[in-house]
């Protein structure tokens, strides 16, 4: 099945936040934000701005009827700054005017006087200054100290990975209006409708039941709208509460880039030890996470860094410590991979570093240390259904790795100023929210009396094709034509207490709930059939292809007739189901447990060519063997692999967030922050769908696919690094991503200017 939204998308008929027809009297909001990264607000003068034409209201923290607090995990983040500002772009006031241009023009008239305070942008500086979001966490397996003592080879080093702007093409936004009896409606471009509802209730000082959050679809999210869609929705609601008029707030791109958090930059130290046979015996790693000015999701992101610090390798002795460091950047947040990629970049750097010192190719160390069934992860889970070696071998065989290596060696022999580099990138990614309680979901399914079906879940469609998968589940279980089924908006009045659409788990969690609801309806209908047709007990009844089958034969009872007759027999045609992932648990007191329903594996071969005169590069190919389980939708899943990979390559190569020492974002527009365009992607992307063993906790055995492919992109960094080394044998480029053309050229010609 193809993406069910595609038909509307290509005609421009899908409705995003900014496409909702506005109601009469709508006011437009513009956010006034801090022009410095850290300081004390001495004076805020709104008087000139208030006199500007069209301005109806300007509100600040003082106008908040409830609490000025939107911190999700730790209550450390105000909606609007009060006495201090902690990052450049922190919202201070919201202007409401008859038009957006009027609100924007008035914002220039706001006078703010700020006493500047010292700015910290680097996580290690924050760590030194004792500025931590929370106490550090350490995962331990075995004993590294004694293990290192027995190691044949021990290597140390450090690695840094940069942040990443989500660059959802649809910016953040919300549209709110008043209902009656002191209740409100808000359409929000959010991955987490319940987060919006919960925080809006706190800020407005009313109950959650009085706030209806509705989400049609998102023009991209990638984690950037998991928690960070909340402030804009709450501001719109607050504006509505204060003026009793509808309020629309849609950020412009530069404001979005300036005010919202991104993927966390990390700076890390590693120490790795091997025995004689080059098996990794011990690994110690310390992560300094750049959390930005407030916690946001940083504690959870930090946790996933620890969970994935050994990537796809078995290491018997591990000590991994992570510090979440408070700096004066916008609060960093979820981004596809959620800390996992940052952890994996460090272990891959450690292996590359060790290989360099040992005079080996990195793949020799990678291959030797891949996980297998029964191996223990540093967090205590035992590997089951492990596909790490299978994926590696499949990729190597299917794409003829020895030949590829020969071709590259021959090319590098022939060319002095064009060099190719190859990297292998195995991945292992755990599926489930690491906070066990979040692994729950609900679905509400209505069969209408004409036989059509409406499905509501907590899943938010943001391009990942989750609506398509939900529809497939409902159609399969009910045995009817998919065209009868409509996937409804995600709405907190229909499905409450939702977990955000995140952690790659949305289709599993919500799909299982849809499956349960549809199964309950199907069984109820079957019982009705048995009674109607007066069938003996235990007669096999099926509903398939819109027909009723009794003991293997169709009876004259098509779906529509069946439904109508059930309705007249006063049978409930609605069902609400609740699903909670079984088997998973985790105890943070000892940092051990079984947090993941399952793991997803894969291996990518990445080949790059570097122009060693200009320092520019291209990716020739990325060839992937990926563990899909039994893919329920190869169209959607292929798109996730290709798109995730390219986003990962972007993070590792072109996408460079630059803050100046004052904490101002320099790469604050699409002209300075570059994501891959159609020419920047690998010339060839090959994806081999490995039909791996079924996992019962994956919906229909189809493994989660949202985040894992992003981490194939890490291979891009190492392919470039290897190409640089092919040009200059003695080159030892620092482990510092992204590998921009600038870094490439400076690594090719390190002696220039000296």
């Amino acid at each position: 099945m193809r993406n069910i939204d595609a038909l509307n998308h290509v005609r421009g008929e899908s409705v995003y936040l900014d496409d909702i027809p506005v109601r009469q009297g709508t006011l437009y909001a513009w956010v006034f934000s801090s022009p410095v990264a850290h300081g004390r607000i001495l004076n805020l003068d709104l008087s000139e701005a208030e006199k500007m034409p069209g301005v109806v209201k300007i509100f600040t923290a003082q106008d908040i009827p409830g609490q000025n607090q939107i911190g999700g995990i730790i209550p450390d983040e105000p909606l609007l700054a009060e006495s201090e500002v902690h990052f450049w772009g922190q919202p201070v006031a919201v202007l409401l005017a008859e038009t957006e241009l009027q609100a924007r023009l008035a914002s220039h008239k706001i006078q703010i006087e700020i006493e500047k305070l010292p700015v910290i942008t680097e996580p290690r500086d924050a760590h030194k200054a004792g500025k931590l979001i929370m106490p550090p966490r350490t995962f331990t397996l075995g004993n590294t100290e004694t293990a290192f003592a027995g190691c044949e080879y021990v290597f140390e080093g450090n690695a840094e990975s940069g942040g990443q702007e989500h660059l959802y093409i649809e910016t953040q936004g919300a549209y709110a209006y008043v209902k009656e009896n002191g209740s409100f409606y808000v359409a929000s471009s959010t991955q987490g409708p319940t987060a919006v509802q919960r925080h809006a209730a706190v800020v407005l000082g009313i109950s959650m039941s009085k706030i209806e959050v509705d989400v049609m679809r998102l023009g991209g999210g990638f984690g950037g709208k998991e928690d960070q869609a909340t402030p804009w929705a709450v501001m719109a609601l607050l504006g509505t509460a204060l003026t009793k008029r509808p309020v629309k707030l849609a950020l412009h791109r530069p404001e979005d880039m300036r005010m919202t958090g991104k993927r966390h930059p990390y700076s890390s130290d590693f120490k790795i030890g091997f025995d004689k046979e080059l098996r990794i015996q011990a690994y110690e790693v310390t992560f300094y996470q750049n959390a930005g000015a407030a916690a946001d999701l940083s504690p959870a992101v930090l946790e996933r860094t620890l969970f994935h610090c050994t990537n796809s390798y078995f290491i018997p002795n591990v000590k991994a410590t992570a510090y979440s460091c408070k700096t004066n950047l916008p609060p960093n947040t979820a981004f596809r991979g959620f800390g996992g990629p940052q952890g994996m970049f460090v272990i891959e750097s450690a292996l590359a570093h060790a290989a360099e010192k040992l005079g080996l190719e990195t793949w020799e160390l990678q291959e030797k240390n891949l996980l297998k069934d029964g191996d223990e992860f540093p967090y205590g889970q035992i590997t089951e259904g492990c596909e790490a070696q299978n994926c590696w071998q499949t990729a190597a065989e299917k794409y003829d790795l020895p030949k590829l290596r020969e071709e590259i060696a021959a090319f590098n022999q022939q060319h002095k100023f064009l060099k190719k580099g190859l990297a292998l990138m195995p991945i292992c990614f755990g599926i489930s929210f690491t906070k066990t309680a979040m692994n729950q979901s609900r679905a509400l399914v209505h069969i209408y009396q004409d036989g059509s079906v409406g499905v509501s879940t907590g899943a938010v469609e943001m391009g990942q094709g989750v609506n398509t998968k939900m529809l497939q589940v409902a159609a399969t279980v009910l045995g009817i034509d998919p065209n009868r089924i409509r996937i409804e908006t995600t709405n907190t009045t229909r499905v409450a207490n939702t977990s955000p659409s995140a952690a790659s788990a949305t289709a599993d969690l919500n799909g299982k709930a849809v499956q349960m609801a549809c199964e309950a309806l199907r069984e109820r209908l079957k019982l009705h059939i048995a009674i109607q047709l007066d069938l003996p007990e235990n007669t096999p009844i099926e509903i398939q292809d819109e027909q009723v089958w009794v003991a293997g034969k169709t009876v004259e009872l098509p779906w529509e007739k069946l439904v109508f007759s059930a309705y007249w027999s006063r049978i409930s045609l609605s069902e609400n189901a609740h699903y909670a992932t079984p088997e998973i648990h985790f105890n943070p007191a000892i940092e051990k447990g079984h947090p993941f329903a399952y793991h997803v594996y894969g291996t990518a071969l990445v080949t790059a060519t570097v122009d060693c005169l200009r320092g520019t590069y291209e990716f020739d190919s990325v060839k992937i063997a990926h563990d899909f389980g039994s893919s329920m939708n190869t169209n959607v899943d292929l798109g996730q692999i290709e798109g995730g990979l390219v986003q990962g390559i972007g993070w590792m190569t072109l996408e460079e967030l630059l803050f100046n020492p004052e904490g101002r974002l320099l790469s604050n527009a699409l002209s300075t922050y570059k994501v891959p365009d159609i020419y920047a992607v690998p010339k060839e992307i090959a994806v081999h769908f490995m039909a791996t063993q079924g996992i019962k906790l994956a919906i229909f055995g189809s493994k989660a696919v949202g985040e894992p492919p992003l981490m194939y992109g890490i291979g891009a960094y190492f392919a470039l690094r290897n190409a640089i080394k092919a040009f200059r044998l003695e080159a030892v480029p620092r482990f510092s991503a992204p590998m921009t053309p600038e870094k490439v050229l400076l690594n090719l010609y390190p002696d220039f200017g000296t």
């Binding site: 595609a6 241009l101 990638f222 292929l638 527009a669 365009d677 159609i678 053309p741």
Partner: protein, 472 residues
């Protein structure tokens, strides 16, 4: 008043001439298919087609409507996705659906419109050209491979396209709605109506002159919207490319795409397509003008750098007064020009390259396409028997102005092309540049990069004489 046709509908509006066309489409006409992604021409989500009447035919070009001042729509046919939709999906839409080229869908319409423009205007469709038509569209979800596959499918469909009556073929084959063939006639009568009314504002009240608008609408969107703006794109005196007594003369209002299409330019620069491909995107090249690139005074303007090396002369007009100035004397300091704001760059002239002339343009940016250079550079040499007798060398991103490197150019004169000379020249060039560290690179990087690009010029132009091994 601005008069144009929007899809099927005749528009006559008194909205501000500097209002971005995008806002007019979405918020005045409520056509919500065209999306807002960045408002600076860098994402392509707002792509629309602009149909211009040229010799009785309408030529369609894709543009980013966020950077198009409303007044530039005057006399044109503007096509949004709503104007392309038919009861059935068009082959473009179908190819994208079938190849799963849409995920979140927010950028999708931009791709549909860009590819539709390609189907209308491309006479010899290839997959490469179809992909090139999407070079100004950013997708954050798909990784583009599915869109490449869609382009492949589409090109197969287009092989049947009739050359004589393309429009009829496109309508018959469901690419375009049936109203398209009537557009030329409608535009003719529209332009007659326009001619009957006096348009514009008195010269003395003009706050901004705008040509393509591709930079002004990024830098000063509010001001442009609220000011008395006069658009120059419809001044026929600023158009056209001709050659005369050994020179090529280019109207200041010539767009980059017109430059690329020009037979005169193609004859003079066999690698023109390669250079132009590095300049911005299709949508922007369809709007941005040569004079706009000069007047913008960006220290890294790609065209400016090329024309500096071509030793071009600019002709600047104020009312009846026309003066000429070597391009290299136009730049006084950062964004400071040796011309008044109300002086218009009417045309540009430079010598046609002869058999002894060698020209090359190099550009390196973080992303190879649709990006602003970290450093760009051009060179024009005249040589005889491997000796340089004329040299013009320019570079961008290495100082406050687009830089003509006097000393290095002078040094090269009379020299033989050999490694030692080039190495010496590469040291001289370091003495006349002053790059700063910024979002496009550190000072060291820019200095190193210019050295490399300087060598790259010679490696490309004289591969028989110079090899990289001799230089590095």
């Amino acid at each position: 008043m601005t008069r144009f046709i929007l899809n099927q509908q005749s528009i006559c509006t008194n909205q501000p001439p500097g209002l971005p066309l995008l806002d007019f489409i979405r918020y005045q006409q409520h056509l919500k298919g065209t999306k807002i992604g960045c408002r600076e021409g860098d994402c392509g989500a707002c792509t629309v087609l602009v149909g211009s009447l040229e010799n009785g035919h309408v030529t369609y070009r894709s543009v980013t409507s966020c950077l198009m001042p409303l007044a530039n729509a005057g006399g044109k046919h503007i096509v949004t996705v709503e104007g392309l939709n038919l009861p059935e999906l068009s082959p473009v839409q179908k190819a994208i659906v079938e190849e799963n080229g849409t995920q979140c869908g927010f950028c999708t319409v931009g791709f549909v419109v860009s590819l539709s423009g390609f189907c209308i205007s491309e006479k010899a469709p290839t997959v490469q050209k179809a992909i090139a038509a999407m070079d100004g569209n950013i997708c954050r979800c798909t990784g583009y491979k599915s869109l490449e596959r869609a382009a492949g499918k589409l090109v197969t469909n287009l092989q049947e396209k009739s050359a004589e009556n393309a429009m009829r073929w496109l309508v018959e084959n469901n690419f375009l709605p049936a109203y398209f063939p009537e557009i030329p006639q409608r535009l003719e009568s529209l332009q007659a109506e326009e001619a009957a009314e006096t348009v514009g504002i008195p010269e003395e009240k003009v706050a901004y002159y705008i040509a393509g608008g591709t930079d002004l609408l990024v830098q000063k969107p509010e001001t442009v919207q609220l000011s008395a703006v006069k658009v120059l794109t419809r001044e026929t005196g600023l158009k056209g490319i001709s050659s005369d007594v050994g020179q090529i003369i280019i109207g200041g209002g010539t767009t980059v795409e017109e430059l690329r299409q020009s037979p005169e330019m193609q004859a003079a620069f066999p690698e023109l397509h390669q250079y132009v491909k590095l300049v911005s995107s299709t949508q922007i090249r369809n709007m941005g003008t040569v004079a706009g690139n000069f007047a913008n005074a960006s220290p890294i303007g790609d065209l400016t750098i090329c024309f500096l090396a071509l030793n071009a002369t600019v002709f600047i007009r104020k009312n009846e007064h026309l003066r000429e100035l070597p391009l290299r004397e136009l730049y006084l300091g950062y964004k400071q020009l040796a011309k008044d704001p109300d002086e218009i760059i009417e045309k540009i002239a430079f010598d046609i390259p002869d058999a002894n002339t060698h020209f090359n343009f190099e550009k390196v940016s973080k992303r190879t396409h649709l990006d602003i250079a970290s450093v760009n550079s051009a060179i024009r040499l005249k040589t005889e028997l491997n000796v340089i007798y004329e040299a013009h060398f320019s570079a961008g991103g290495v100082g406050p102005v687009p830089k003509y490197l006097n000393k290095t150019s002078a040094f090269l004169l009379g020299k033989e092309i050999e490694p030692a000379t080039l190495k010496e020249a590469s040291e001289i060039l370091q003495t006349e540049i002053a790059p700063i560290s910024d979002a496009r690179g550190s000072e060291t990087y820019k200095r190193l990069l210019l050295r490399q690009l300087f060598f790259a010029h010679f490696l490309k132009l004289f591969p028989e004489t110079i090899t990289a091994e001799n230089l590095l």
